[in-house]
């Protein structure tokens, strides 16, 4: 009863004029960011962060949460209607959504995407609400070796789930972890890699890495292939309407809804993996196990439902480790973590006793944003698509300006601007040489948490590193992480050795 009363309090707090206004603004911004191909969801949430500095913690969290939730839908519209995925997570929608549109079923394809977003959104909300508090209670009983193991698992999973060479992903992760070590060490107060420069002694904020790599880096990457001149053509035969599938059709597809939602939730819970990974994994699962797998890629609604339900469900999943343990489950939740920290609140099990109203506010914001996103997605297709007509060069110019503001706003420090710009160049070079960015960014975010728990464990257990493997929970989590890292290597090695004798290639070491 107390829990339900708290949840009710969260909904009551949302229904104040200011919070409703902020929620609406977040929904519109999230949709716009998702529709524009030059702006990714994470980039959009990062760029919105400076606007929350002077807000209260409640409206700040509502704004970023609404952007995050809405950002998982907008790109579906442009992927289906114009073959333009607003977000990487919408790429699977090109294969079936656009194929349906070419058959003259664009409205129905949008209907399937909207139903998937709503159903998975509500289920993932219920999952988040049900699981977060019990997990926080468990987290309170965990000690530093277990916390280290959980963070290690998150870091390993972002490498395992990456879309690139694992060696490059690991190098990227190491670089991120090293960036996190710059500054004054928290335990001994020793200066590390600051080279006597005062701004490095304060450490490198992960926000600067994110703004630079995802913002400026992405703009440079797009410049290297040439901007689309004059934006996309949104007129012509595209129909700006949504038509819902029949109840019977939806019931026939309940297994697809379930598979997509569960995949999204599970991938979302894993720290570091977000909507894009969920979307691809769910599509892959549907492609292997779905009843209509042979029709996938030719305009099958199953492809839309699998990808969209997974991307949507990953939001609820990603909030669970953030709220229960203070470990962000995705890039966007890392920014929400930053919003918490900027207001002097450390997310984790203690928040449930110190500021439970904030947790309930986020719960309420996620559900209200899910409903609002679907309403906006139904009624605002035409104006959202109009945004695509903006020339990419102008949109990118504003992205760079917002990146500058993002770097300057926090401390009004010019060196922060230089650091952010440097990471913009690094982000571009990473893309250019096929080093994934997600491990770099996640390493910067989770690095301090991993190191603090590692060092505290070593100090508490007299430098006995075997403690990580003798405590059952940490040993099990670490074993799972190592298995996850080893599996793609073993699979690739088997495939390579099978292929090598026939092609006469040099053997792998």
């Amino acid at each position: 009863v107390e829990f339900l009363a708290g949840l009710g309090g969260g909904f009551a707090a949302i229904f104040t004029p200011v919070n409703l206004l902020v929620l609406t603004a977040g929904l519109v911004l999230g949709m716009l960011v998702a529709v524009l191909p030059g702006l990714t969801l994470v980039m959009g949430v990062v760029l919105a962060l400076p606007f929350t500095y002077k807000m209260g913690v409640g409206p700040a969290l509502i704004l970023l949460t609404a952007m995050y939730v809405a950002g998982t839908y907008g790109g579906a519209i442009t992927a289906i209607l114009f073959r333009i995925p607003g977000e990487p997570m919408d790429v699977p929608l090109l294969w079936d959504g656009y194929a349906m549109a070419r058959r003259g079923e664009a409205a129905l394809a949008l209907g399937w995407a909207l139903v998937a977003a709503f159903v998975a959104g509500v289920f993932s909300w219920a999952f988040m609400v049900a699981l977060t508090q019990p997990l926080a209670a468990v987290a309170l009983k965990l000690s530093t070796p277990e916390y280290f193991a959980v963070v290690f698992f998150g870091l390993a999973s972002v490498v395992t789930l990456s879309g690139a060479s694992m060696v490059n992903a690991l190098i990227s992760l190491c670089l991120g972890l090293l960036i996190a070590t710059v500054g004054i060490d928290a335990i001994y107060g020793a200066e590390r890699f600051a080279f006597g420069l005062p701004f490095l002694q304060d450490g490198i904020e992960f926000l600067l890495v994110m703004v630079g790599a995802y913002g400026v880096g992405e703009v440079l990457t797009r410049m290297s292939t040439g901007f689309a001149s004059g934006g996309a053509e949104t007129g012509g035969k595209a129909r700006f309407a949504t038509s819902f599938p029949r109840w019977g059709e939806m019931m026939k597809m309940k297994a697809t809804f379930a598979r997509g939602t569960i995949a999204g939730l599970l991938v979302g819970v894993v720290p570091g993996a977000g909507a894009t990974v969920s979307s691809f994994i769910a599509y892959g699962i549907e492609n292997q196990y779905g009843k209509s797998r042979h029709k996938l890629g030719e305009g099958a609604p199953e492809g839309i439902v699998a990808a969209k339900s997974a991307a949507t469900a990953s939001v609820g999943g990603a909030f669970v480790p953030l709220l229960a343990m203070g470990i962000p489950g995705s890039g966007a939740t890392a920014i929400i973590l930053a919003a918490f920290l900027l207001h002097g609140i450390q997310p984790g099990p203690q928040v449930f006793t110190k500021s439970p109203e904030l947790i309930n506010l986020i719960f309420a914001a996620v559900l209200m944003a899910t409903i609002g996103k679907c309403i906006l997605g139904y009624f605002a297709i035409r104006p959202l698509c109009k945004v695509l007509e903006a020339p990419e060069a102008i949109v990118s110019a504003f992205v760079v300006v917002f990146c500058f503001v993002g770097a300057l706003a926090q401390r009004n420090s010019l060196p922060d601007l230089y650091v952010m710009s440097a990471f913009g160049l690094i982000g571009f070079l990473f893309e250019r040489f096929k080093f994934p960015l997600a491990p770099l960014v996640l390493g910067t975010i989770l690095g301090p948490i991993a190191e603090a728990n590692f060092m505290t464990t070593m100090v508490s257990f007299d430098n006995d590193w075997t403690v990580f493997f003798t405590r059952p929970i940490s040993a099990a989590i670490l074993a799972l992480a190592v298995l996850g890292l080893a599996w793609p290597v073993i699979k690739a090695a088997i495939a390579h050795f099978r292929k090598a004798p026939s092609s006469g290639q040099t053997q792998a070491p």
């Binding site: 191909p37 606007f51 500095y53 002077k54 073959r83 995925p85 699977p92 090109l94 294969w95 194929a99 395992t160 789930l161 990456s162 690139a164 060479s165 060696v167 690991l170 190098i171 190491c174 972890l177 090293l178 060490d185 335990i187 001994y188 590390r192 890699f193 400026v216 703009v219 410049m223 040439g226 901007f227 990974v277 691809f280 994994i281 492609n287 996938l296 030719e298 020339p391 990419e392 060069a393 990118s396 110019a397 504003f398 760079v400 300006v401 500058f404 300057l408 706003a409 010019l414 710009s421 070079l429 994934p436 060092m455 100090v459 430098n463 690739a492 090695a493 390579h496 792998a508 070491p509």
Partner: protein, 186 residues
Amino acid sequence: MERLLRVLPHSVMLVVAGLRYGAATRIDAETGGRIGPAVWPKAIIVFMGLLCAYEIVKRLVVRTEFTATGVVSNMERTVPSPGSPSALEEGRGEGHHRMLFGGIALIAGYVFAVPWLGFFPATAIFLALFPRVGGLRKPVVSLVVSLAGTLLLAFVFLKLAYISLPLGEGPFRALSLGLMRLIGVS
């Protein structure tokens, strides 16, 4: 030569790892027999160096194509993809080096101009020039976007979000203050 270029990124990373290891050996703290503050970064650097060395040896000496990739990469290969992936990608191509280097130069110029010119004058110039470098051949549009955009940004950042931004030096400081007065910020 081509093979050397292929290992260039890993060679640079290896050099970075070497330099960072050298810096890590100079981390100094009284630990009282406990694990010190250099252990964590040193372990990461060694691991990173080994990974780089592995990749260099693999590409230069063993010359194998063996590469383990992440799960999503494997998924991308197994799912069907009819036609080209994206309408926007069709309009793109390789080798827009002039645009890229122009963009980098403009962003670098913007970075160094902000402290002198102040955020808003520098932004107005940047917004006018960047679309041009990005291939937009509509000077009137660029000018309108630059002026209207700067005023709008000034209003949003100064009046609504209360963000403190560099005002510039000398006459540019006066210009920034004039702009602030124009939008009603004291």
